[in-house]
């Protein structure tokens, strides 16, 4: 598990989400990247039942990542992050007196997984309740574990297929003290997906486009 950056790629002007995704695939293949199957990251939102403290409710997010198919990740808003077994969802059903699944809040990103040298690239279509909202690109540089060390290198790589609109160092890393060390589990990656999903959930539906 190396250093990962998840970013949103704007839909090209006059193009649909799918057309933009196809264009990214073509650019990656021109670089020499090889397609290696598919990937999926999803996120369910739970809201606490019986909020008595009067404070704004804190959400619980349960996420799955096809890279780690046997585990799932539970993130409590602004709080701890927990890596659990895959059947954590079953536990959430039992906890429904405390946390209720917010229907219509399910977000997922699906797409193709590419390998280029020591880079892994995942280009995904982000859907909120089955409607396409945008495009996510995840780039992982596997041999390095210190985000600050390889950031310039990753930026150069992303520029080669995303053009000049390359994101800044993800805040999840910027916020970390000194030893910018990506943990073995993918919580840093999932935190970035969660940020992206929250942003897209609030966005208006992209006009006239659907997943398939």
């Amino acid at each position: 598990m190396g250093v990962t950056c998840v970013c949103q790629v704007p839909v090209a002007e006059g193009k649909s989400v799918q057309q933009t995704v196809d264009m990214l695939h073509r650019k990656l293949e021109q670089l020499g990247a090889v397609k290696q199957g598919n990937f999926c990251v999803d996120c369910e939102t739970y809201h606490p039942v019986g909020n008595t403290s009067g404070q704004p409710p804190k959400f619980l997010y349960v996420m799955h990542n096809s890279e780690t198919p046997l585990s799932c990740l539970a993130l409590f808003e602004g709080g701890p992050c927990l890596t659990a077994d895959g059947n954590f969802d079953v536990l959430m059903v039992k906890l429904k007196s405390h946390f209720q699944n917010s229907k219509g809040h399910k977000v997922e990103s699906r797409g193709a997984r590419y390998q280029y040298c020591d880079f892994l690239v995942k280009v995904g279509t982000v859907t909120v309740s089955s409607s396409a909202r945008g495009i996510s690109v995840e780039v992982e540089y596997c041999p390095c574990v210190v985000p600050g060390d390889c950031w310039n290198l990753m930026k150069e790589f992303m520029q080669s297929f995303l053009g000049p609109s390359v994101p800044e160092l993800p805040s999840v890393f910027a916020a970390k003290p000194e030893g910018l060390y990506a943990p073995v589990d993918c919580s840093d990656t999932m935190t970035q997906y969660l940020e992206l999903f929250s942003k897209l959930r609030k966005q208006q539906v992209v006009s006239g486009s659907s997943v398939r």
Binding site: G32, C117, D118, P143, C144, V146, L153
Partner: protein
Amino acid sequence: MADVMNVGVNLEAFSQAINAIQALRSSVTRVFDTLKDGMKNKETLEGREKVFITEFQDNLQAVNRDLNELERLSNLVGRPSESHPLHNSGLLSLDPVQDKTPLYSQLLQAYKWSNKLQYHAGLASSLLNQQSLKRSANQMGASAKRRPKVQPSTLVLPPQYVDDVISRIGRMFPDMSIELFRPNGTSAVLLVTLGKVLKAVVVMRSLFIDRTIVRAFNENIYTEDGKLDIWSKSNYQVFQKVTDHATTALLHYQLPQMPDVVVRSFMTWLRSYIKLFQTPCQRCGRYLQDGLPPTWRDFRTLEAFHDSCRQ
């Protein structure tokens, strides 16, 4: 054949000498004949003795005369020339049954070969002395003999000495940790951890670095049964490349007389990878080329280059 005949033998004197030998032989035979016959019948005992002694003296004088003649001739015969490259074996050419026993031509052939061999061996040895690319045990033994200051054989340094050298080198570089293992007998295996960038397994033979494998910081260093994995290569292309370059460096830094300097030079070079992902190429100024960062480090300046940008 002509030059073989001309070996400095006086043939005239030679044949005379052979005659002289025959003469000597017959005069010696005559001496023994008179002795064998004894005293012949004469009237008086005195007469018999007198005749016998005179005869015996005459014969001995003849032997003496022939012997002197032979000695004189043998000085005339002379000796085969010392300057002949094959010395006495050159006389083999005089063998009349040349066709049946081609000993002489075979000898000449063998002589030519051994001459050539010696010449080429001399050239090779002087060339090898110029290059200090010496890795074999024989060469090291030889160099140790020439320089009695170092240990009799640098291959059998005491483990304690190796430990000391390694720990001294480890203290030189604070961002580099060197752990020493001895999984198989006395030969040391070093696990070098460089910052949070890479881990290198360095297999030693005494103080000589035998081979090295570089892997990512987050890759497995141990096999499933908990032993140090000194064989499998990195999963990442960038570290496969760095491993190749490190192997080149092992061949570059060679100084058989001072193995500790070699280890130190190699570690200094390896340490320049601390900024493997942070340094752009010194030639093209970019970070990536074919998906790889600048993996080459100049042996002298330690500057970073892409493999294809170095010259």
